[in-house]
């Protein structure tokens, strides 16, 4: 009986599908039973021998058996594929806590970083940035800044003198002279750079350090402008509101000259060891540009006035990172430098 034959085949095949253990066995069953020359195909060959009525009944049975077996096959196949994928993924386990191979980021020197940060502030305020040479003429370093030979103010800056008759600049102020000549009034400029003092080196003294000179020349620049400007700038540098005060200070290239103090950022003026209990920390020298200096820069002091200041970049770096030994900055020790 063809019906019996069919149902037996379907039941046996279903049992075999359920029992396979590999995808290959499953495929073999598919070919054997459902393939073009498979057992179901053979059964369907005999269909022609049946009566049209029988043919309709058996045809339905045949299709149902085929459908059932295909579903069972697909389900098993999917299960095998999923298991295979899961196994592959499992094999692909990676220890992501292991270090990444290849090269990590290097570090910029802390002085480079603070200099860039401050340059950007100034540029945003319309200042240009100028460079000057490390080796300067005596004239630019001293005379043009109103410090003639044998002036006692030269004692303030122990100088490295050179075999060619020149010197290593003791401050970035000579760039004022170069800047005035290059830019002409009105002008706003800064000059960051390396300066030199002939001093013994220890944890708090260096013969090589970094300053940033700033200058603004325009009509009617006043002390009140200077105070406003320095307060704005220092608040930006320290990223908080800073209280400043000016008091007299002597620097031959400014008149009047000031020492600018900021209220101690540690104790907010209450007094602490950092500010030596005074509530104030001396931060930078500044003043109105001396008329002699303007004149030597080719600017008429009757028409223009200006202010100038010198910011100690090395000092700012040491303050920001609480560095207690200035020699680290030029020691070339990567254990120090990679911290920034």
């Amino acid at each position: 009986m063809i019906e019996t034959q069919l149902s037996e085949l379907a039941a046996a095949t279903e049992a075999r599908i359920a029992a396979v253990t590999t995808a290959d066995e499953l495929e073999a069953i598919r070919v054997e039973v459902l393939g073009r020359k498979g057992k179901l195909a053979e059964v369907s060959k005999d269909m022609g021998k049946l009566s049209p009525e029988q043919r309709g009944v058996v045809g339905k049975l045949l299709n149902a058996a085929k459908q059932t077996l295909e579903n069972a096959l697909t389900a098993r196949k999917t299960a095998f594929e999923q298991a295979a994928l899961a196994a592959r993924l499992d094999r692909e386990w990676v220890d992501l806590t292991a270090p990444a191979p290849g090269v990590g980021l290097g570090s910029l020197h802390p002085l480079t970083q603070i200099q860039a940060e401050i340059e950007d502030l100034f540029v945003s305020l319309g200042f240009t940035v100028l460079d000057g040479p490390e080796v300067e003429t005596e004239f630019n370093n001293f005379d043009a800044l109103n410090i003639p030979p044998d002036h006692p103010a030269r004692d303030m800056q122990d100088t490295f003198w050179l075999s060619n008759g020149h010197l290593l600049r003791t401050h970035t102020s000579p760039v004022q002279v170069r800047g005035m000549k290059k830019l002409g009034p009105p002008l706003r400029m800064i000059a960051p750079g390396r300066v030199f003092r002939n001093e013994e080196v220890d944890a708090s003294h260096e013969h090589t350090f970094y300053q940033l000179e700033g200058m603004m020349v325009d009509k009617d620049v006043s002390v009140a402008h200077l105070i406003y400007f320095m307060k704005t700038l220092l608040s930006a540098i320290f990223k908080r509101d800073v209280t400043v005060r000016l008091r007299p200070g002597y620097f031959p290239f400014v008149e009047p000259g000031f020492e600018l103090d900021i209220q101690c950022l540690i104790c907010n003026g209450a007094g602490c060891p950092v500010c030596k209990q005074s509530g104030w920390v001396e931060l930078l020298p500044c003043g109105l540009v001396h008329p002699n200096v303007l004149r030597l820069g080719g600017i008429d002091p009757e028409e223009y006035s200006g202010f100038a200041f010198g910011l100690g970049l090395t000092r700012l770096v040491m303050m920001r990172y609480a560095i207690d030994d200035i020699r680290q900055l030029q020691g070339g020790d990567l254990r120090f430098l990679t911290q920034f």
Partner: protein, 765 residues
């Protein structure tokens, strides 16, 4: 410079500012105060005491004394002073002062201390306990008082000759406190000049004034004078010298007293020294002088180095009975030059180099006469003032308008009355009409300090107080600042380097001779430092490499591998001109283990990212380079730097590859992006070609050969890899062909390939 509060107060009528506040006031208005400290607070408690008995303690140098201290009663005190004896009057310090406590010495109770002049802070005398000729037990030590010492930063007095004495500082304090300054008379009796004076160069010595005294008694100064000098850091010596020092500290006028009996001839000559002329000085040294030094001379030669130090033979001694007292004025720069050259900075030279006021000499002599009469009883003036004076050119009156002063300070509500009051309070002569000022400068501010109207802005501003100015935003044009492209370039370069793992180092601009020699850098190419104070600062670097090499070896002790770079300036001598300063990059890749090849190629790749399209060409190695790992870096046919590995003798612990680029050249030769090229519309064809070569054939050379022979349709030729086997070395290249206007046919490609193969075969077998 130390200032005594009591001394300042003596010059001011009714000073009420308490000592604790005076330092802050001076700091805010005049000069930087470095500290305020109490001096001699114990004088409120120390008393005169009479030693009643003094019994030696056997086996020691000590004595147990019984002293009558008046207000503290009779006390038992153990004392070790050699001069301690019954009957003497000395000073008693009760427990609780000067660190004295009630104690047991050698088993004997001691309640307080008998003190020396040094322990009391009166003088340096510490041979024994102080001894008084008179006094009642229990009385305070006559003339000695508690004081407050204000220390002012010398640098902030550089421009103020007048502030090197108490009277000048008192003028400031009086003005700040709004009290009148007491004047010091300059009157002297008439009389024939006591000595003949000759000044050979009035520029170097504008004024020389002198008085002669006889019947002089040289003895210790009274205690008040000793204590006062001691309190401001001057050592009491004897009454005569102490008077000169007192006036220096009071009027900022250095003075000198000569033993008149030791001066030869009747004349004082102020002249430049002769070449090699010796001058024995009162510090025991003999200085050899030249024509840049000014001397005070008598008929026998120099008796002092002008403005710096007095002579030895004519110094005041116990035997002195007549003195010549000098108060002179000298050219500031000349004194500074001499003192620098002789390495002799004295209290006198420090003052003279600030341009002292020539008007001051006579006032100082008058004050000295008054003081000498107190400290040397019976002293008599002989004759009158000797005074040779070549007045300095006067400072013209300074004119300015109130509106100008307002604009400079940024204080629009400043009034003429305020300006007048301030300038008058510090002794300027002021006349004002309708806001127009004419100001005369007092002599002590006129020597150098004040000559311009701008100088007066400071005077007015500081006395108003800068804190009383309202900060105002400046009105400036809004412009995009012109930024030099180098800065942006260097900033970008630094970012590129750190992104590739390199850490930035900063090195000094100095190298020492040994470092330069080690790398074969000619010493004579360097700019030399004339006055280095430490080793290692003799030369300015003509290369970053000596210090980089040091960085490598230092860090090799800590790291197995590292990458670092420096951007800094090479400084190349150009005779007397300013040297050429060339920014360079030195980048290093170090590996302790391994063959170093990867490090070199890493730096080659780095060069390519910094200077795209640069090539590398083998170069003869310099002595510090690995002889077979050294090359020039070329950009547009110009050498822009060097790629090499340090010779193992230089870096022994590993392999250090270095890229050294001249950043001026790199910037000059790099090209900006130009006009865009349309993208290809037709496909390309590529084929690989393997070329058998000699072992040390250069890939760059073979590549160049292929490129040259591949024809105009070769879009790209690139090296893929090489192979070293039994039959030698071969290199494989990939050639990409394409035409702009069509797709190449297979025949075309084959033709080009065959042609190239033939050329390669002819050249490389």
């Amino acid at each position: 410079m130390k200032f005594s509060y009591n001394w300042l107060a003596e010059h001011i009528d009714g000073l009420t500012v308490p000592p604790a506040e005076i330092g802050k006031l001076i700091t805010m208005k005049t000069a930087e105060c470095e500290g305020v400290e109490a001096h001699g607070a114990h004088f409120d408690h120390v008393v005169v005491a009479k030693v009643l008995t003094a019994e030696p303690i056997p086996g020691t140098h000590l004595a147990v004394t019984s002293v009558d201290t008046g207000r503290y009663g009779v006390k038992q005190v153990v004392c070790g002073a050699p001069n301690c004896r019954a009957g003497m009057l000395t000073a008693y310090v009760p427990p609780g002062h000067l660190g004295v406590t009630t104690a047991k010495l050698r088993g004997v109770d001691s309640d307080g201390m008998l003190a020396s002049a040094k322990e009391l802070g009166i003088s340096a005398e510490d041979e024994g306990i102080i001894e008084f000729a008179e006094g009642e037990p229990g009385a305070a030590i006559a003339g000695c008082t508690a004081d407050t010492i204000v220390e002012i930063d010398n640098k902030s007095l550089t421009h103020r000759p007048d502030l090197w004495g108490h009277h000048g500082m008192a003028r400031e304090v009086a003005a700040i406190a709004g009290r009148p300054l007491k004047s010091i008379p300059a009157d002297l009796p008439e009389g024939a000049p006591a000595v003949e004076i000759e000044i050979r160069d009035a520029k170097l010595c504008p004024r020389f004034s002198a008085l002669r005294f006889e019947n002089v008694t040289v003895q210790p100064s009274p205690l008040w004078l000793q204590q006062r000098l001691e309190s401001v850091g001057l050592n009491p010596i004897n009454n005569i010298v102490d008077v000169t020092n007192y006036l220096m500290a009071e009027l900022a006028q250095p003075m000198h007293a000569y033993d008149a009996a030791k001066l030869q001839g009747g004349k004082i000559i102020v002249r430049v020294a002769e070449e090699g002329e010796p001058c024995p000085a009162l510090n025991g040294q003999t200085y050899t002088l030249d024509s840049s030094n000014l001397v005070i001379a008598d008929a026998g030669g120099p008796v002092g180095i002008a403005g710096v130090i007095g002579g030895g033979p004519s110094a005041i001694s116990d035997a002195t009975t007549t003195i010549l007292l000098e108060a002179a004025n000298f050219h500031a720069a000349s004194i500074r030059k001499t003192s620098t050259k002789l390495k002799l900075r004295t209290d006198a030279s420090m003052r003279f180099e600030k341009s002292q006021d020539p008007v001051n000499t006579v006032r100082a002599l008058a004050r000295a006469k008054w003081l000498l009469e107190q400290v040397s009883p019976g002293i008599r003036l002989v004759g009158g003032l000797a005074d040779l004076y070549y007045p300095l050119p006067e400072v013209a009156p300074i004119s300015f308008d109130l509106s100008w002063m307002r604009r400079k300070l940024g204080k629009p509500d400043l009034t003429a009355a305020e300006v007048t009051a301030i300038l008058t309070s510090i002794a300027f002569g002021v006349s004002e009409a309708d806001g127009h000022f004419t100001v005369t400068v007092p002599s002590w501010r006129a020597t150098k300090d004040i000559s311009l109207k701008d100088d007066l802005v400071e005077e007015v501003g500081r006395m108003i107080g800068y804190g009383n100015l309202t900060p105002v935003p400046p009105l400036v044009p809004s412009v995009v600042p012109p930024l030099p492209p180098e800065r942006a370039y260097l900033r970008g370069l630094r970012q590129l380097l750190t992104a590739q793992g390199y850490t930035e180092v900063y090195n000094y601009s100095f190298v020492n001779e040994a470092q330069a020699t080690e790398l074969g850098l000619p010493i004579e190419d360097h700019v030399r430092v004339v006055n280095p104070i430490a080793q290692g600062q003799e030369l300015l670097r003509t290369s970053l490499l000596p210090n980089i090499k040091r960085n490598i070896n230092d860090n090799a002790r800590e790291y197995e591998s590292f990458r670092m770079f420096e951007i800094g300036k090479e400084i190349h001598a150009r005779g007397q001109e300013l040297p050429e300063e060339i920014p360079h990059l030195a980048a290093v890749s170090f590996e302790r283990h391994g063959d170093g090849v990867a490090n070199l190629f890493e730096l080659k790749r780095l060069a390519g990212t910094i200077a795209p399209s640069c090539t590398v060409e083998p170069a003869e190695a310099r002595p510090f380079e690995h002889p077979f790992r050294s090359a020039k870096v070329i950009l547009r046919n110009e050498a822009i730097g060097r790629l090499f590995e340090f010779h193992p003798a230089m870096v022994e612990t590993g392999r250090a590859a270095v890229l050294d680029l001249d950043l001026v050249k790199v910037q000059a030769l790099r090209t900006a992006a130009g006009k865009y090229k349309p993208l290809r519309r037709f496909p390309t064809s590529a084929f690989d070609l393997t070329v058998p070569t000699a072992e040390r054939e250069l890939a760059g050379t073979v590549l160049g050969f292929i490129r040259e022979h591949a024809g105009s349709l070769a879009l790209d030729v690139r090296y893929l890899y090489d192979y070293k086997g039994d039959k030698g070395r071969s290199m494989t290249f990939r050639i990409t062909l394409g035409a702009p206007d069509r797709t190449l046919t297979g025949d075309e490609v084959t033709a080009i390939r065959s042609q190239l193969l033939a050329a390669v075969a002819a050249k490389y077998q």
